[in-house]
Symmetry: C2
Subunit: 182 residues, 2 copies
DNA sequence: TGCTACATGTAACACGTTACATGATTGT
DNA sequence: ACAATCATGTAACGTGTTACATGTAGCA
């Protein structure tokens, strides 16, 4: 019975369908695979949101490629709505970084465990970095000329810078802890 | 009636009290002022969590400096519990970056609005960066010799690297959008 | 035949913030 | 006197995930 089902989910849903019409199931896969590094939606959000959007006439449902599957697409009103939502101020959720929380209480956790956490974080960042490079190369090839490409590259650049920063930070932090008694 | 009130909140509460006994109110201020860049707790979390911890004998309540105020401190059992919780695997919450979500759908939002978002983000990052430098200088002075200092410096270093990366990314992204038709 | 992937939807639960109710202390 | 700050707690609300229930289609 929600009226204002979280606007941010509506952005992801309308935005995804604005690139290509698809089923709710495919939409979730697309969000996971394409926005996965900075956004996520679960079925429990997507289905109710699609129902709300349909009730408001912002998306339409047609028979999908397979029986039992619906193909959703954005209506002109839906595109207007998406433009409005995108222009709205960003609502930041309060920060919750479990890694930094643990490191801050490193005196209690112990320096050795801190080092392990840092090494693991460094490894993850390096894996992400490699993945970003691979994705960037792939979409430059496959989506060459697409009007969405520059924007995808902007978000990938964010991931790259963030991963590089994480690696440099981990090295700094390991050096800092070197001096702090093992 | 919750049994497992979010462990991460317990870490913040026990960890804060492990540095110095204080009232629930002071604890919230300490968390906001000291962990604010990577963690947050609200009263609605802190009070019930303290009640749970007290019922389990992990924190104790003494009369505070002012009538009506309780001074909470960690018991030996509480310190053990904190050590356990800190060693537990980090539960990451799904990413939700509203800025990147908007930029990804930049074709719909428009290049001009994207640029504004990037300039604003760059400004915020620069403000954070200045703040991190100021805090680092202050605690190096005030908390010199404290066993907690190196760990505080590690978390500050994370903030510094992250802010610097955000600035560099914003510049990159603005350049990328320069080519992408205004 | 049976497994996997595709597909839709709901319900229960956990989480977390905001607003509210209430009151004491301190400084002006 | 009055305002601001310190202080404790609860309730309502929104949000978001997970697990469940259900069924179809393609393939080995």
């Amino acid at each position: 019975v929600t009226v204002v089902r979280r606007q941010q989910t509506q952005i992801a849903v309308l935005g995804g369908l604005s690139i290509a019409p698809m089923s709710a199931y495919a939409l979730r896969e697309a969000i996971r695979d394409t926005l996965g590094h900075f956004w996520s939606e679960s079925f429990g959000q997507i289905y109710p949101t699609l129902a709300d959007l349909e009730a408001e006439g912002l998306v339409e449902r047609a028979d999908g490629s397979r029986p039992g599957a619906s193909l959703f697409s954005v209506t002109p009103a839906g595109l207007l709505r998406l433009r409005e939502l995108l222009a709205e101020p960003i609502t930041m959720l309060p920060p919750r970084n479990g890694l930094l929380l643990r490191l801050f209480f490193g005196r209690v956790l112990g320096v050795a465990a801190c080092r392990e956490l840092l090494v693991a974080a460094r490894g993850q960042a390096q894996a992400s970095l490699a993945e970003y490079h691979a994705i960037a190369a792939r979409i430059r090839r496959e989506d060459a000329g697409s009007p969405d490409l520059p924007f995808a590259l902007v978000t990938l650049s964010a991931g790259r810078h963030s991963a590089e920063a994480a690696i440099a930070w981990a090295d700094d932090a390991l050096a800092l802890l070197e001096g702090a008694g093992s």
